[in-house]
């Protein structure tokens, strides 16, 4: 019964994924065309307006530098010290209770801190266990269902010069934890 459901789900998913792929490929070109023609229709000075907006690109890029240096250096140091392995070791008995494999734990810890780090661990796990294995899929879904919260916060709040972020970080981390726990539960149900 469950097999039948996953099979029909699979067929649906393939055509669905193809359409979505095509859609995401064309969304930007269509979007640009829409903007340009609307602006033309509204008789807005096209090039001047574009330049006016684009001017801000440089100042935003420069403005986020100190925020990004602050966050990325702290995270880089934390990763280099081996603290993540230690934390994973300390947490593993607790997380075993909810069925989280020990090998996946470093991924869960690194995910909010570093996007490239998380992709690196996912690559390692996929190589080690095989691309169709439960571990690889779990790692993939976990990585996909959360975000590099620290990076997002550094860039967005940095771009407007806000340093007192109130509850944004906690909410972001809760989102990551919820996403990863959901990934663990759903993968256990679908892939195991």
């Amino acid at each position: 019964m469950l097999h039948l459901i996953t099979q029909t789900f699979d067929i649906f998913k393939h055509s669905f994924a193809g359409t979505l792929n095509l859609f995401s490929l064309w969304i930007l070109p269509v979007f640009i065309v829409c903007i340009l023609f609307t602006a033309l229709y509204k008789k807005i000075p096209l090039y001047d307006t574009f330049i006016d907006g684009a001017k801000e690109g440089f100042s935003v890029g420069v403005k986020i530098i100190p925020y990004l240096v602050g966050i990325l250096v702290a995270i880089g140091m934390f990763r280099a010290s081996g603290a993540i392995e230690l934390l994973a070791h300390a947490l593993s008995p607790v997380l075993k209770l909810i069925g989280m494999p020990a090998d996946i734990l470093p991924l869960a810890i690194i995910r909010p801190l570093s996007g490239s780090g998380a992709l690196g661990i996912t690559t390692e796990l996929a190589k080690q266990y095989g691309g169709d294995s439960y571990m690889a899929r779990l790692a993939a879904v976990m990585t996909g269902s959360s975000e590099t919260t620290f990076y997002v916060i550094a860039i967005y709040f940095g771009s407007v010069g806000i340093s007192r972020i109130r509850h944004a970080l906690i909410a972001g981390l809760v989102a990551d934890i919820a996403g990863m726990l959901a990934a663990l539960f759903i993968c256990g149900l679908v892939f195991k």
Binding site: I35, I44, V60, A74, G179
Partner: protein, 214 residues
């Protein structure tokens, strides 16, 4: 808040690195990460400039306001302190869609534009508003329809059927989104996270006293 976590990350790194005998790697990572941060920022400038220019055209031709109006029923609850047809809402919606569709290089400038608009409504330019925190929470839930880079990793590791993760990933991000919005709405009401912090108390007090005297 961020200050304490920042302090914690650096101090733990130095202590654990020292005990592990990895202190040289920790020190080296300062140089590497600082350089990486600057490289990321600088490399963002080009694509940022392009999309900020495009967004300016979209804004001036009324597209952004139109999107804001369209989404009024959803956003007036989520972003209660933002006027419903404010351009910020339009930018937030565009950022969300771009992220969900996996066009990250366009999503970041849109998000920055959204923050810029929200900052215009902010009475205290150093402290985040409720709307900003809600926007960030939605953003960090990371809703996406096609996790392209992860599918590529599975495919590279020899997966015959890497797209099977699309459904579970979408479902998980949806749960993350619901949790994030719920938590952000609860936390914004807590006195600990209230926007008007202690440093403004004296100011408000003196203003109140001045009013009373009059």
């Amino acid at each position: 808040m961020l200050g304490y976590i920042w302090f914690f990350l650096i101090i733990t790194a130095l202590i654990i690195g020292g005990v592990n005998g990895k202190i040289d790697a920790v020190v080296q990572s300062i140089v590497n990460s600082a350089q990486l941060a600057v490289e990321i920022s600088i490399s963002l400038i080009g694509v940022m400039a392009f999309w900020l220019g495009m967004m300016k055209l979209a804004e001036n031709s009324g597209i952004i306001t139109e999107i804001s109006k369209l989404l009024k029923p959803i956003t007036k609850r989520l972003f209660a302190d933002v006027p419903p047809d404010h351009p910020a809402i339009g930018h937030i919606a565009m950022n969300f869609s771009a992220n969900a569709l996996g066009v990250t290089n366009a999503a970041t400038p849109m998000g920055i534009k959204a923050m810029d608009e929200l900052q215009k409504l902010n009475p205290d330019k150093k402290v985040a508003t409720n709307a900003m925190c809600t926007f960030l929470a939605i953003n960090t839930a990371g809703v996406q329809f096609i996790p392209a880079s992860i599918i590529a990793i599975l495919a590279a590791a020899g997966a015959k059927n890497p797209t099977v993760i699309i459904g579970p990933t979408f479902l998980s991000t949806l749960i993350a989104l619901i949790s994030a919005v719920t938590v952000v709405k609860i936390l914004e009401k807590l006195p600990f996270f209230r926007q008007t912090a202690s440093c403004h108390c004296e100011e408000t007090q003196s203003v109140n006293e001045a009013i009373q005297k009059e």
